[in-house]
């Protein structure tokens, strides 16, 4: 087990890429082969993982206000178009199934 990492900056970028799912096949292989043998890298892995998880899980995700959705649809005329389709469908329903 190594207790000093001479390439720590490089290793840190690689560990982040692995955690982000954007590492190359070579980096993933290097990570698998060497990860358990370097204490600073093991600590870095744990810390980077916890920071990433904190961002994913703990930061509140703001939802779009319903009014904004309606405003956007109204501005492009989508609401009007959908109402038009519904009106046509209702008319067709009455034509075909009313008698």
């Amino acid at each position: 087990m190594k207790y000093q990492c001479e390439n720590h900056q490089k290793c840190m970028k690689m560990i982040q890429a692995v955690l982000d799912g954007s590492a190359s096949a070579e980096e993933v292989e290097h990570f698998k082969q060497n990860m358990d043998a370097c204490m600073p890298c093991i600590e870095t892995y744990k810390l980077e993982k916890s920071v990433k998880e904190a961002m994913q899980v703990k930061v509140e995700k703001k939802c779009c206000p319903e009014k904004l959705v309606l405003d956007i649809k109204a501005k492009i005329g989508l609401t009007l178009l959908l109402l038009g389709f519904i009106a046509i469908e209702v008319k067709l329903y009455h034509i075909f199934f009313s008698c």
């Binding site: 982000d20 954007s22 600590e43 810390l47 920071v51 703990k58 509140e60 995700k61 939802c63 779009c64």
Partner: protein
């Protein structure tokens, strides 16, 4: 995406298809878009305006979008450019720091910065509550905040981020690396001010 980049080259969709693409491919991403806009501007009114402008622009240039391709990345790119071009100057965020300045600073002090961040404990991060983590994120300069939001909150790959931000993948990696170093520093400072134990020394003192 600058407007000149999304000039329609051909009429791809009929009027009816335009609405169908807008509703089925664009609208499902509106919560992510709003969250991104809010995290960029730190203001609900600005986020509303930014999302609305983005969606109206997306509809206007809908023929530039190829159905079945990555609609989320396409929309995020429009939003990011709208933010830079239209909102950044008038944003209510108090302290604006230009990315180039920040990058230069952190390029020159990276080693020193690393010494300062390595003693942040995994357990401390795990113990922190959402508001504390969000405050640390919000305190980052907007360009660093952007890469962390895109990667960690929205789950974009480096390749997608490169397209959204219009930078090479290598720059995405470097910017993320520096953003995370700064974030850890902010988390450590914040944890310290809130009375969390932040390093092994604190444990040793407690044991003693």
């Amino acid at each position: 995406m600058e407007e000149e980049d999304i000039v329609e080259v051909e009429v791809r969709y009929s009027e009816k298809e335009k609405y169908a693409v807008f509703d089925k491919e664009f609208m499902p991403h509106i919560d992510s878009m709003y969250n991104f806009a809010f995290r960029l501007t730190n203001d609900e009114d600005d986020a509303n305006d930014l999302v609305q402008d983005t969606y109206l622009k997306a509809f206007r240039f809908i023929n530039s979008f190829e159905r079945g391709t990555n609609a989320k990345a396409w929309l995020f790119r429009i939003l990011k450019n709208s933010f830079i071009n239209d909102y950044r100057k008038k944003s209510k965020e108090p302290s604006k720091v230009d990315y180039q300045d920040v990058e230069t600073t952190y390029n020159s002090t990276e080693d020193a910065e690393m010494d300062a961040t390595t003693d942040l404990r995994t357990e401390t991060v795990q113990d922190m509550i959402g508001d504390e983590v969000a405050n640390a994120l919000n305190s980052l300069p907007v360009d660093f905040r952007t890469v962390i939001i895109l990667c960690d909150i929205e789950g974009f790959t480096y390749e997608e981020m490169a397209k959204i931000l219009d930078i090479p993948i290598g720059t995405v990696r470097s910017r993320l690396h520096r953003a995370r170093n700064l974030l850890k520093e902010k988390l450590k400072t914040y944890a310290n001010s809130m009375g969390y134990k932040i390093d092994e020394a604190a444990d040793e003192e407690e044991d003693f």
